[in-house]
């Protein structure tokens, strides 16, 4: 177990270096930089800009700047944001919590609804409820995230039942602890619905397929033959086995959610990692972009790792040393 963990963590290193170098290259290719927009500001002297440029290492060759950045990043310093003049890590720290809360809330809602619905739909195969829920799932899968976000925002505007932006209210700091929690929940509802809708639909369909496949397995026939009740067969034998692939899926789902969250954050005006990244990209704030990509990839890889670990806990048949080779 420990060895497996170590190997996976070591494997992540070249991947992260590759990803960050690619991003560095890309941002460097972008025409203009942050300073060309600063130069248009008459209240900032050219000397001050030249000074700033020096401190950010501009003018040096690409690889030198990349390795300087990498060396600092290894030491836990992701550099300064040129636009905000604040440490990148501080900025990301403020935002990443909101994104994580949203992604995890969406994950919980997705799973809490998709698994029971998938079971119901599989059991009632061919009946009206199956057809109706499957059609609904299909619609949910096809509805674009951002469009659903617009519809819900309009709903919130018209009814006034939900806040229309931000992760917390203006007076958040003055609320009591329970008030803070409620305020956050209130702001979370709409984005969570948006993110959970698409994930839920595909998960439900997969669950249905997995259960129907298992219904024909030999061990299920054995369980039925020895006289177990239909409920015991379903919950103790079919469902436990059907769940395994979904545990891995949850890890990848977290990655998708982080990506999806980025778009929903910008549309719904939430202060998260995605909207921060978008602002950084638009301002060509190179270290902020690099930091966001690094943290985003790290979250993605850690999510996948957690998923694999959870899988071994739930399914003792899976041998980690073998599984990591073949996959």
């Amino acid at each position: 177990m420990g060895l497996f963990l170590l190997r996976r963590l070591v494997q992540m290193v070249p991947l992260l270096v590759g990803i960050t170098f690619l991003s560095f290259l890309i941002v460097d290719l972008a025409p203009g930089d942050f300073f060309s927009s600063l130069a248009l500001n008459p209240s900032i002297s050219p000397e001050a800009i030249a000074d700033m440029k020096r401190s950010f290492g501009y003018g040096e060759p690409l690889w030198a700047r990349y390795f300087a950045w990498l060396w600092q990043a290894v030491q836990g310093d992701l550099g300064l944001s040129v636009a905000h003049r604040v440490g990148v890590l501080t900025l990301i720290g403020q935002r990443v919590v909101n994104t994580l809360i949203l992604a995890i809330a969406a994950l919980i809602v997705t799973w809490a609804l998709a698994i029971p619905l998938g079971v119901i739909v599989a059991v009632r195969r061919g009946r009206f409820s199956d057809k109706f829920l499957s059609l609904l799932a299909f619609l949910g899968m096809s509805l674009p995230n951002f469009f659903l976000a617009f519809l819900l925002l309009r709903f919130a505007l018209q009814t006034g039942w939900f806040p229309v932006g931000g992760s917390v209210s203006f007076d958040y700091e003055y609320l009591t602890t329970s008030g803070k929690l409620l305020d956050r929940l209130h702001h979370l509802i709409l984005p969570t619905v948006v993110l959970a809708t698409s994930g839920m639909a595909s998960l439900m369909r997969l669950m249905r397929g997995a259960i129907l496949d298992l219904q024909r397995a030999d061990f299920v026939r054995t369980a039925r033959a020895k006289g177990l009740s239909e409920g015991a067969v379903l919950f103790k034998h079919v469902l436990r086995n059907a769940l395994n692939p979904f545990i891995t899926l949850a890890g990848y789902e977290l990655g998708t959610l982080l990506g999806g969250a980025a778009l929903v954050e910008s549309v719904m005006n939430l202060q998260g990692l995605g909207s921060l990244m978008l602002e950084a990209v638009l301002a060509l704030d190179i270290y902020l972009v690099m930091g966001s990509v690094l943290i985003g990839s790290l979250l993605l890889l850690l999510g996948n790792l957690l998923a694999d670990l959870a899988l071994t806990l739930s399914d003792p048949r899976i041998d980690l040393s073998g599984a990591s080779r073949s996959q």
């Binding site: 941002v27 096809s142 951002f146």
Partner: protein
């Protein structure tokens, strides 16, 4: 809950009998809808009553006008359809009043358009207008050209690259396979949307709209080919061991010929299904980028760039008709999903989705 036996017999029938007939009408309807949408895009200059950039400065943010059918006795003299003119009563709040006493008659095939006002000085907005008084319906029809071709071109590129890499990796195997698959893994480990954002920022300003379009498609294909490559590699590796491929090799067919004539055709079933199901992803990707202001720019329009107007709470509140492009995106996505699902049942029996 489950009748013992009943489920099993049903399964046997569905696997040994004819392909499932489930959702046939939905797939047919989807095909029809898609045909209709693509035809609209192709015939845009004829179907749209106005040019996408044509401004009616006196009618900004005008609400959609309802089409009325005239009494049959007036059909010959005035035309079948008419709208009531709208007058702006409050230019600050963009409030319009409908003048139900007056009529603006519409003519089919007038001035080279499917439907246009009989009097060229009048105008009509079926889906309302934007802040510059441009007809949303016309912009939607022209925008379909970009939005609908993004998916097709993107899928051609990414599946082309994916098939090439996958088939070579799977068929050749060994070191080549290792290197190519590691590359795919790096691509798949990228946080796709963040990366796409970073890539889109590289698009230099001042490109022609055709160049921007090409760049966006290439960027999205660049992010997506790896997934296809992995699946096709698996298929190619198993196809390589089949008798007919071995027979071809024994008959002296070269590597390239075997791949093109025997391995690639065997993956076509998957490819067609994957292509149909991947098109919505490209359409959504383009829309998302354009929506955030990183994709298609003025003066070209796509459904995503039209939705940019909705990314503003005041607009969303007062002018709900600007959500129309979103409806188009949703309908297209749905149609491709239904069609792909049906195609999978027909062409790719290995990927079983039980009915």
């Amino acid at each position: 809950m489950i009748e013992p036996g009943g489920g099993i017999e049903g399964e046997l029938l569905s696997t040994t009998g004819r392909p499932s007939r489930r959702w046939r009408w939905r797939a047919g309807l989807s095909g029809f809808v898609l045909l209709f949408l693509y035809a609209t895009a192709a015939l845009a200059p004829w179907i749209a009553p106005y040019q996408p950039g044509e401004q009616f400065r006196r009618s900004p943010n005008a609400p959609p006008m309802r089409l009325h059918v005239a009494a049959p006795s007036a059909w010959l003299a005035q035309g079948v359809l008419f709208v009531h003119p709208q007058r702006m009563v409050d230019s600050l709040r963009r409030r319009y009043e409908i003048d139900t006493t007056a009529r603006v008659p519409l003519r089919f095939f007038a001035r080279g358009h499917l439907l246009a006002t009989a009097d060229p000085k009048e105008h009509f907005f079926v889906l309302g207008s934007d802040a510059l008084g441009r007809d949303l319906f016309s912009r939607l029809v022209y925008g379909a050209r970009i939005s609908l071709s993004v998916g097709v071109v993107g899928v051609l590129i990414s599946l082309g690259v994916g098939t090439l890499v996958g088939v070579v990796a799977g068929y050749v195997g060994g070191r080549t396979d290792d290197v190519l698959m590691r590359l795919c893994e790096v691509m798949m480990a990228l946080p796709a949307f963040y990366f796409l954002l970073a890539l889109a920022a590289v698009i230099p300003p001042g490109l022609s709209s055709a160049q921007t379009f090409a760049l966006i498609v290439v960027l999205m294909s660049f992010i997506r080919w790896a997934g296809f490559a992995r699946v096709i590699r698996g298929m190619a590796a198993s196809i390589r061991e089949l008798e007919y491929v071995q027979a071809a090799q024994a008959l002296g067919a070269g590597r390239a010929r075997t791949i093109v004539r025997h391995v690639v055709p065997a993956t076509l079933g998957y490819t067609i299904v994957a292509a149909t199901l991947a098109i919505p992803g490209f359409i959504l990707g383009e829309s998302a980028l354009s929506l955030l202001g990183l994709g298609i720019q003025e003066p070209s329009t796509s459904w995503g760039s039209l939705l940019k107007d909705a990314n503003n709470l005041a607009n969303l509140d007062k002018y709900p008709w600007i959500l129309a492009p979103g409806v188009c995106i949703a309908v297209t996505t749905m149609a491709f999903n239904f069609l792909g699902d049906q195609l999978r049942d027909r062409l790719d029996p290995r990927a079983e989705t039980r009915s």
